[in-house]
């Protein structure tokens, strides 16, 4: 029996199809202007990979910012729960999930049963979100996915104090103008962002076993910057961290049918 989860975010849309307890197929696309479009597109992509049709899906759960405009979703579930559920399914001992999405960053604490006991969002400002990195990449004329590797070549990272997305952009342009090394700037950005996210996580008290989900988790520079800021190791997962929300949604769907 097939179940699906669909996570429509502001930057990207993801979908996961599960077949009796295993991930059968997953797919990620950049979000389209209309959430509904994104949902259809990402789902058809996933169905194609799975080699089945939408009719074969017994139950589909939607999540993410666009969750209410997913036409084929039978139910919706909060991102917080989905990321918690997805991460825990992959790493049973995990007690804290840090998700950096396009629109916001979240820290989620789980109890032994996998229930959410505390969670927090980034407050006030976009610094510490995927959007922040996206805009900065744009300002530097590099690809978002290249940032990680670039930052790893940093020798002495610059300090980037400004927490406002747009001002940070100006700051970066002036740093480039000042002839600073690109890798030092990128790594400085990661540090700045990691500290914001770490502060948020510490705000709800750190747990031992921490993992990271969301597209930004693929950014190796960011990953290690966050480890440094938290002062502890982060468990990495073999599955694409970007699909964890959708995975959690699929798991929710599975519970619903069982």
């Amino acid at each position: 029996m097939f179940v699906a989860g669909c996570d429509v975010g502001s930057l990207s849309a993801k979908a996961v199809i599960m077949k009796n307890g295993d991930i059968l197929a997953s797919h990620v696309i950049f979000s389209k202007p209309e959430p509904e479009e994104s949902a259809r597109a990402v789902m058809s992509g996933t169905l194609e990979k799975a080699g089945i049709s939408i009719k074969d899906i017994a139950h589909c759960v939607g999540t993410g910012y666009g969750r209410n405009s997913i036409p084929f979703a039978n139910a919706v579930e909060s991102e917080i729960i989905c990321h918690g559920r997805g991460a825990r399914w992959l790493i049973p001992q995990v007690r804290m999930v840090i998700d950096i999405g396009g629109q916001d960053a979240k820290a989620i604490r789980l109890d032994d049963a996998g229930n959410v006991i505390r969670f927090a969002y980034n407050d006030r400002c976009a610094s510490g979100t995927g959007r922040f990195l996206e805009i900065m990449a744009g300002a530097m004329g590099i690809r978002l996915e290249d940032m990680g590797n670039i930052s790893l070549q940093a020798k002495n990272p610059v300090a980037i104090s400004n927490q406002c997305v747009v001002f940070a952009e100006t700051e970066i342009i002036s740093l480039i103008n000042a002839g600073k090394d690109l890798s030092d700037i990128v790594s400085g950005l990661h540090k700045a962002m990691a500290h914001r996210v770490a502060a948020m996580a510490k705000g709800i008290e750190l747990e031992k076993a921490i993992t990271m989900t969301g597209g930004v988790a693929k950014n190796r520079g960011m990953f290690s910057a966050l480890e440094e800021a938290l002062g502890t190791k982060i468990m990495s997962m073999d599955t694409d961290p970007q699909i964890i929300g959708a995975l959690g949604a699929a798991l929710t769907a599975r519970q619903a049918v069982n």
């Binding site: 959007r131 747009v166 103008n177």
Partner: protein, 260 residues
């Protein structure tokens, strides 16, 4: 006598070539990461249009964030003074100039001679900058101009704080999910923008005539909302509002040559 002005901003670089009272050519390019290069590039473009060579330019004044790095200028002046000078040159009755660029926002008060007697700039975050509108337009999948035009069709505009760009973004998404019409969203966005800018303008004690420079001046929705908030008409300028800074620099050059 031919002079020029070059404005190297963080997002765009502009050049204006002036022959006494006539703008013979101007150019606008996206800033590269190298101010000297952007400056030379935009200058060449402007010179080409005017069919001139660099040595035809008697003096070139530089302005903008990158002004210190422009190779071919001997004198630099701050953007604030340049926007004032340029607007005043086009519209001598101008007493209040509102410049909303991509990255910041200024309100400038002039005296009868066109000297800056007061100014305010946004210190906080990106609140009330062009970037705010860009991000919102992208979010609504609209062109900047459309975003402006849509306002007029709004029935029940949303209220929004144009403080943190990304924060507002999350707000707008909530409204999108509750199927608010694009017009109502656009109107809310433009009005929030206008409200923020108006605070700066009022803070310099606005005086007529008022005119607007910078890219956002092209957004009719914001301009209309500003006129409501400020309760004065905003005078349109006859040239591209984005080049006023460079124009002002050129006028400074001209005055310098005339020994003013």
């Amino acid at each position: 006598m031919i002079v020029a002005g070059c404005d190297v901003g963080s997002l765009t670089t502009k050049a204006v070539i002036l022959d006494n009272t006539k703008i013979i050519s101007y150019a606008l390019i996206k800033s590269s990461f190298n101010p000297d290069q952007s400056a030379s590039e935009v200058m060449e473009k402007a010179l080409k249009q005017a069919g001139l060579a660099m040595n035809d330019i008697r003096l070139c004044v530089g302005t903008g964030y990158g002004r210190e790095r422009i190779p071919f200028v001997k004198k630099t002046v701050s953007e604030i003074a340049c926007h004032a000078k340029g607007a005043y040159w086009l519209l001598p009755s101008a007493r209040t100039i509102i410049d909303v660029g991509g990255q910041d926002c200024k309100a400038i008060r002039l005296d009868i001679k066109g000297n800056v007697i007061k100014f305010m700039t946004n210190d906080k975050c990106a609140s009330g900058t062009g970037r705010f509108l860009e991000v919102m337009a992208k979010l609504l999948n609209l062109e900047l101009e459309e975003l402006g035009k849509l306002s007029s069709q709004a029935r029940n505009a949303i209220t929004l704080a144009a403080t943190c760009t990304a924060w507002s973004q999350a707000e707008v998404i909530v409204h999108m999910n509750s199927n608010t019409s694009k017009a109502d969203l656009a109107a809310g966005i433009n009005d929030a923008m206008a409200a923020r800018v108006s605070i700066l303008v009022k803070a310099v004690a606005l005086e007529k005539d008022v005119c607007m420079t910078g890219g956002v001046a092209k957004n009719i929705g914001v301009v209309a909302a500003m006129e409501k908030h400020l309760d004065v008409p905003i005078r349109r300028l006859r040239v591209d509002p984005q080049i006023i800074g460079a124009l002002g620099a050129a006028v400074f050059a001209k005055e310098k040559m005339e020994g003013k």
